[in-house]
Symmetry: C2
Subunit: 328 residues, 2 copies
Amino acid sequence: MSIRIGILGYGNLGRGVECAIKHNPDMELVGVFTRRAPETVKILTETAKVYSVDDAEKMKDQIDVMILCGGSATDLPEQTPKYAQWFNVVDSFDTHKRIPEHFANVDKAASENGHVGIISVGWDPGMFSLNRMYANAILTNGKDYTFWGKGVSQGHSDAIRRIKGVKDGKQYTIPVEAALEAVRSGKNPELTTREKHTRECFVVAEEGADLARIENEIKTMPNYFDEYDTTVHFISEEELKRDHSGIPHGGFVIRTGKTGWNDENSHVIEYSLKLDSNPEFTSSVIVAYARAAYRMNQEGQKGCKTVFDVAPAYLSALSGEELRKHLL
Amino acid sequence: MSIRIGILGYGNLGRGVECAIKHNPDMELVGVFTRRAPETVKILTETAKVYSVDDAEKMKDQIDVMILCGGSATDLPEQTPKYAQWFNVVDSFDTHKRIPEHFANVDKAASENGHVGIISVGWDPGMFSLNRMYANAILTNGKDYTFWGKGVSQGHSDAIRRIKGVKDGKQYTIPVEAALEAVRSGKNPELTTREKHTRECFVVAEEGADLARIENEIKTMPNYFDEYDTTVHFISEEELKRDHSGIPHGGFVIRTGKTGWNDENSHVIEYSLKLDSNPEFTSSVIVAYARAAYRMNQEGQKGCKTVFDVAPAYLSALSGEELRKHLL
């Protein structure tokens, strides 16, 4: 029997989850739950239905795992504990500072109702966190580095679009190759924000807008751009659509460390991602963890978990025997 | 209280484990168990003792985890099940074909006696396996590639040394950069053995030996070299000692795959290791899994496990709260 999945929220992430379910034959999409009028939402899966979020509770016996695809700012802090009452849940909560509070809330709701809730799933937090953790456990005497990109930062793109005279824009975060090489060499460099990443902006200006002012406002914007070397390109709306409509991302997690009685040997562990579609990759990770949530719950586990708490085998559709045979 | 560790077998791996324990303050080396006469074995840890393997059973209440540092050919198939009667155990068994049988034997002994036995720990099998598994669970529609090196292959170095007229020698396995690049590009190439790796040999010949014959015997040696492009350098004994006494290794695990409703987006997941000392890195992985074996057993778990079955958090000396705060 398939694992029956619900999707709550149908933006880029929700659509990515829908696509990922198609790639996992042991799973089945039962329904998409939306705050919009259900009849206005068109989904891709012919065998699934669109429901109002208000009908979610009624579906609690028809869905094994509810995947929460809302935003971290306001949706998930409320939704994940709420739906953990009725379902096993997985979310991609990524507001780092609020993780302890979110974990506690989800843990309470999930534990009291006998469900598993896996939070902060994706690639960062998610696979990057896992790789930092494994590398730290192995090389206890070492140093961590995380680089992001090349990829689109939604937050920075939004910040550009809020500037007066800007019609549209896209921002790429780019890791500095020389910094990556210094890290890989095992030199343990101390790197400033400016030395690690550059920012490149593609901006569509409104007709007659003061380009010099826009460029200056971008480059000096506190928190977003002022600590980086930023390049600004003004392009046409057609060029933006043609060349910059994707949502690529990726990055590097590197740990270098020493072993030996006198720390005489150096080692480099590197994990990297190069992603055409940030939301589709994130969704693919989430769907694997939905399988884990279901199985852990079937075994009687409950409460809030993160990627650190989930034994890898739970993510795979293969049996233990098959895993040992083909992947060990 | 520290986790009390025993080491059985004191070669490169056993010494690596000893060094790794020094880097993990929550662990303590109690003793090294050897088949040699104990008084002939000098260890580095002043607070630990050397014992005969025959005294291991008597120490079963003084040791939490026995780390088995023997070879996979003949030692571990016998030792791991045997010592799993008395201890939680970890080994680095790497004879791939015999893993199902080894797993079953260790599982029986460990289960019957209430211990945890974690087998096939290290980097391949081990961290490479884990990365293959995670990447397969995420990108279900994709292709796996593993490259090894640049690094010393003990098996190939031994094969060279068995040739008549060879006094000493060292063999490096080297991944072909063009093949790596083709894989990273997402082209899903089908690669032959010859296209993936080259082999480079540094050979010290006996005086008056026929160098051309030695070179030919190496390059045409079935299974070891005939399917590869091999380079042979004849060097002096001093050069070998000066430039080739280390045991570096490493490699790359790459999975490329597609997502999207019509498989329109490509992704690359890459994990790589660059290791100055193969045995010391392997040992560092093993020691982290010794912590896991101890903790899982403390929670009442028993039986044989592999890296697939161990939730990542068990490997770390940090608490769940600290992990979520610092590494998620």
